[in-house]
Amino acid sequence: MKDTRNVAAVAASKDDAVLQWVTFKLDNETYGINVMQVQEVLRYTEIAPVPGAPHYVLGIINLRGNVVTVIDTRSRFGLQSAEVDDSTRIVIIEAEKQVIGILVDSVAEVVYLRRSEIDNAPNVGTEESAKFIQGVSNRDNELLILVDLDKLLSDEEWAELNQL
């Protein structure tokens, strides 16, 4: 009987796994991305524009000899553009087997969340950007919006990005 309880408890804890999220700010809202997809966080550096690139591409940067495409996250999220300032960061992430950078207003912290602490986002979105959000979580009376980086771009857009 006791063994059964232990097995159930272990199974429950496995289901309720703790995930780490890197949080960043965009337009006064806090977003989180899976820490496993984050490679590094860079201070803003000059981004070289690429002629003929899609509108959601800000340009490219040279990261230790590798060319990394930087995405305009605000544009992608349907937010108005903002001036670059001292807290602006480029978060280097890996998604869909590609390494890209996303420009954010600032990077905040790494938070730990149990799977059970993640709620579904309001399912009323019809716009394309609605699918970026995989859930929301309430932390200290602040809402954390969890972003699914794999869905940040469509399959075609990922392919297009790969060919830049």
Partner: protein, 326 residues
């Protein structure tokens, strides 16, 4: 601003008026004006019929007044028009047409639901013949057509009296006692009412988190007691056609009216009061229309009363105010 407020209130009221038009023919609603007298004439006493007929002819006489200012040939033609229309038994239709014309700019997104002449055939109006003579001869003063239409229309809202057993709001009415309390709240000059039994609570607007990719009427999410409330930009949802950038900037949401059995909250600018009203004080919707979220109109306050259950269904489905459920 005050003009837009009036327009808004009027829009709401005429909306119900318009959508209930066809229902009046089947429901025993009493009416005082010529605009609706034709529909319920069969159930009225003779005295009421006479009264209505006189009122109708009074209105018609104002229209005919214009004819008196023109040469006799035109007057004769006007008389013949009046005679023809009388023969066709369409005097009330004149008012309905005028009503339709006036409301056309407001109701451009709706299909006009005007009572058909066939209804008249089913319930023939028996106007006293002497009144017809008054209509032609009782020429008093000249008047323009447009103001005349305004006068006709201005009487229309006053006809919203009586109590019709509704069909589409039956579920709501079954929940409500004969006397029930409603809370009135205000958004951009528009007053709305919500039955207290359908009220989930009142919460002050605090930190609203904006979620990307949501409809424009989705204000965002606010945390309340460790749960997320989905906030509706009520003004944007209820009257999207009037929700300009200027109006959006002027709206100052203060409270959230939570909808029972959901995590939806309607943002509002102010809470007015909660009063007890009788079911008969509401002109309930009796016909399914484009706005299932609207249960009817509270006659005294002249404001819409919400059908919360339908509203929640619509919001859950991400529908706008003029979309139909399912």
């Amino acid at each position: 601003m005050s003009k837009s407020v009036d327009e808004t209130v009027f829009d709401f009221f005429e909306l119900l008026l318009h959508e209930d038009d066809s229902a009046f023919s089947a429901s025993p609603i009493n009416s005082k004006s010529s605009a609706t007298s034709v529909f319920d004439v069969s159930i009225k006493t003779e005295a009421q019929q006479l009264n209505d007929a006189i009122l109708a002819e009074h209105e018609r006489s104002k229209v005919d007044a214009r004819a008196s200012t023109v040469p006799e040939a035109q007057l004769a033609r006007a008389k013949s028009i009046v005679t023809v229309s009388t023969k066709e038994n369409t005097e009330p239709l004149v008012n309905k047409q005028a009503l339709e014309r006036l409301l056309a700019p407001v109701l451009k997104t709706q299909e006009p639901v005007i009572a058909k002449p066939t209804v008249l055939n089913e319930q023939p109006l028996s106007l006293p013949k002497p009144v017809e003579a008054i209509a032609v001869t009782n020429v008093v003063k000249p008047a323009d057509v447009e103001p005349q239409q305004d006068e006709i229309i201005s009487t229309a809202p006053e006809t919203q009296v009586g109590f019709a057993p509704p069909s589409v709001t039956k579920d709501l009415q079954e929940v409500l006692d004969d006397e029930f309390q409603v809370l009135f709240f205000k958004v951009a000059g528009l007053t709305l009412a919500v039955p207290l039994v359908s009220l989930g609570g009142i919460v002050k607007v605090e930190r609203i988190n904006h979620i990307i990719g949501r409809p424009s009427w989705f204000l965002g999410v606010q945390t309340h007691r460790e749960e997320q409330l989905n906030l509706v930009d009520t003004c944007a949802w209820v009257m999207p056609e009037k929700y300009t950038d200027k109006l959006a900037q002027s709206v100052n949401y203060q409270y959230l009216v939570l909808l029972e059995g959901s995590n939806w909250g309607l943002a509002c600018e102010s809470l007015l009061n909660a009063v007890k009203i009788h079911k008969s004080q509401v002109n309930w919707r009796s016909k399914a229309g484009k706005r299932p979220w609207l249960a009817g109109v509270v006659k005294e306050q002249m404001c819409g009363i919400l059908h919360v259950q339908a509203l929640v269904q619509m919001l859950d489905a991400g529908l706008g105010c003029q979309d139909s459920i399912g």
